[in-house]
Symmetry: C2
Subunit: 250 residues, 2 copies
């Protein structure tokens, strides 16, 4: 692998990272670089730890089982941390993997599983969610891996909510003349987006959400969207209206 | 299966449909209803043909190999046809399936594969794309299945373009202070959205797109999105700004 190729390989590693840091690799990371990507000793890649920015590094084999990377130079500084939570009713296996990956690509800073009346999945593998978030960050050049919160019931989430954070919830049953005009009324500050289960919120949940002083209702058009589609669609509208898609410099 | 359950089963069938129409089922449709969903004779479902609206119907076995549905009553009229084309550089297998499903959910009326300099997939199975569009329409309550166009090269697409249709293209390299303000300038009329390949457009393609009098450039934030994520994100912004997410009645 030539240096020209190194831009395509990104690895999330333990930090902090600075020039000269040596990071031991886990067996799965070593296997991925050595056996899947066919890295040879000295091969170049990019590494990040979620807070030190992105660094050029070199792969080194150390004996039969061990390997490490040596950190060389910073390629990108750590961007200002976004502050956008994504709350969702858990889905089953492959579609949950997909939703976690997509939310990470869309720049959320925290993933919060919430249990609702119509939620169909109650046992969650948080390690698997974290692995999916890391994989998406590695593939898409995202430098911050979202936190994964412990699952909570919707009622408890709302009860403990800090009202300074606006909670934008997607309601299939609502009708808005102009969803973007609604989002334009959202005050500046920390945000959260909530997408419900595929059966929707029940009547009591909708009442509770609508009555809370920190919520804004959002609609996603006349068609029913699957939850993973709704995740990307809602986050796109929120990022473009109130988030970091405005006035960024590429 | 009780009548109460029939709302969850939707089948795309050959039309036109009206009260009393008898539609023979294909072997795969019969197998799906009879062996996967365990339909018994007289079981209720919904059928649609992409232009006659949605109808309640009954499943009937006809001997060892044949089955049909009898159309009873219309549940929903056919909605006004949207007019939103989605142009995209083809992806590989599973991710192409996914993108076609997502674009259908988002309400596009035509799927147009376009070949660009960095496009990695050149052989396309259009039947498979159509099957994915139908599956998404069945699952998500969409009553119009998008047309699938034959693949064309980007240059030929632009050359043959009718300038009355605005082409909104997503450019990772562009910077917009406010993507929604840009979309607000799009004239009313037929629309198309173009998402490029994961390597992006090349310099000549970007010049050609930017120079065309019928194009509007759109950005999707500071992170690189995978093409299937970009599809949903771009279509969400366009539907909310200029499409049928405004002022719909649920």
């Amino acid at each position: 692998m030539s240096d020209a190729d190194f831009t395509s390989t990104r690895l999330f590693v333990d930090g902090p990272l600075t020039e000269g840091t040596i990071v031991p690799l886990r067996p799965d990371q070593r296997n991925y670089l050595k056996n899947v990507l066919r890295f040879s000793d000295g091969g170049a890649l990019r590494v990040f730890d979620g807070r030190s920015g992105e660094w050029r590094a070199r792969y080194h084999d150390r004996g039969k089982r061990d390997a490490e990377v040596t950190v060389e130079a910073q390629m990108r500084p750590q961007p200002a941390a976004g502050d956008l939570w994504y709350l969702f009713a858990p889905l089953k296996h492959a579609r949950l993997d997909y939703m976690v990956q997509k939310a990470t690509e869309m720049g959320v800073s925290r993933l919060m599983p919430v249990t609702t009346h119509h939620t169909q999945v109650h046992r969650l593998n948080l390690d698997r969610m974290r692995a999916n978030a890391i994989e998406a960050a590695e593939q898409c050049g995202v430098l911050s891996v979202p936190d994964i919160a412990e699952p909570m019931k919707l009622g408890a989430v709302l009860h403990a909510w800090q009202p300074s954070r606006r909670l934008i919830f997607c309601d299939e049953g609502a009708v808005l003349a102009d969803p973007l005009a609604t989002l334009a009324t959202v005050p500046r500050g920390p945000l959260a987006v909530l997408v419900g289960p595929e059966g929707g919120f029940d009547a009591a949940e909708r009442r509770q959400l609508a009555a809370a002083p920190f919520t804004t209702v959002l609609t996603l058009g006349p068609r029913i969207l699957r939850a993973d589609t709704a995740a990307v669609a809602a986050l796109a509208l929120v990022q473009a209206s109130c988030g970091d898609w405005r006035g960024f410099s590429a």
